[in-house]
């Protein structure tokens, strides 16, 4: 290890310590100011405004995803009659739109699940309404996902897999060519590394919240289990793929 690396790591450790100390101090201050009551206010707000919040999710996330799909479709329409160079340009723009549809739709789906989890209460009359909103949102997410995948498959007829089938991910990957597979593997590995670091940070935050705000063991256990599953599953598949 050269001097530069040692200095870099030392600097990172010092910055990390300062950052941790500031956050801990802030959390203690928040606790003294009654942060848990703020938590209750937020929960109550979500519970009382489920329809409004879900409408916001549709407006801010779902409809932009639909717009991206339409824009991508429009860009890639009538692509057959152009030269290879023009096609490269058009596909580059069209793919930018299409590549965003599924992640944005995924964000909508996760936020919908979170909202449902926080707003659902079977002891009140609003339970049925919350379930109905959740079901409509889930159907909308599934429809957008299926339409997007079908369009991508229409653009590249080699790509197989029924988006409704449980075998979709496997069939789709198998039908990709070597360059497409390399892109998927590269993205997958980078996403694995990012999620590993992010969940480690979340675990530390959960520990700090429990120490200062007494949020309980559940956030620590859940984040820890997620991190364990993440690392063990990677190790398992790496071992399995050894030949």
């Amino acid at each position: 290890m050269n001097k530069k690396t040692v200095l870099k790591i030392s600097m990172l450790m010092i910055i990390g310590s300062i950052f941790g100390a500031v956050i801990s101090f802030g959390l203690i201050e928040l606790n003294e100011a009654g942060a848990m009551s703020y938590g209750s206010i937020i929960s109550e707000f979500i519970f009382d405004n489920t329809i409004l919040l879900q409408a916001f999710l549709f407006l801010l996330i779902y409809f932009p995803a639909v717009y991206l799909l339409m824009k991508g479709k429009k860009t890639l329409k009538n692509i057959d009659s152009v030269s290879d160079q023009e096609m490269d340009q058009i596909e580059k723009i069209g793919s930018k739109y299409l590549d965003l549809v599924l992640p944005v739709n995924g964000v909508f789906m996760i936020l919908t699940f979170m909202l449902f989890g926080m707003a659902f209460d079977n002891t009140t009359n609003s339970g049925l309404l919350v379930v109905s909103i959740f079901l409509i949102s889930t159907i909308a997410t599934s429809v957008l996902e299926i339409v997007t995948i079908k369009f991508v498959q229409k653009m590249d007829e080699r790509l197989k897999g029924d988006p409704i089938s449980l075998r979709f991910a496997k069939d789709f990957l198998e039908s990709c060519d070597e360059a497409q597979k390399l892109r998927i593997y590269k993205s997958g590995y980078k996403a694995f590394q990012f999620t590993k670091n992010a969940s480690l940070v979340l675990l530390i935050i959960a520990i700090m919240f429990n120490l200062t705000l007494k949020t309980g063991a559940i956030p620590i256990v859940l984040t820890g289990i997620f991190l364990l599953m993440h690392i063990i599953s990677y190790g398992y598949f790496e071992y399995k793929n050894q030949k």
Partner: protein
């Protein structure tokens, strides 16, 4: 990138576009485009497939030039 190719010239000789070559080689048009631009190094299997399609030796399509920076 040390791998140089003249896929575009070979393709022109056969008067086929990227999509048609992709179909013959069993890959997407985008992959052919990536290879032509030097943004992707194909596998040996694909290289052999391409040389078979063009009816020439591999060396006539691909050549390796030592990169001093690598």
């Amino acid at each position: 990138m040390p791998l140089i190719n003249n896929l575009k010239t070979q393709r022109a000789k056969l008067s086929i576009n990227q999509a048609e070559l992709g179909k013959l080689a069993g890959v997407s048009r985008q992959t052919i485009s990536l290879i032509e631009r030097g943004d992707y190094n194909p596998s040996i299997t694909l290289v052999l497939k391409l040389s078979k399609i063009f009816g020439v030796n591999v060396e006539e399509i691909f050549s390796y030039k030592e990169d001093k920076n690598e």
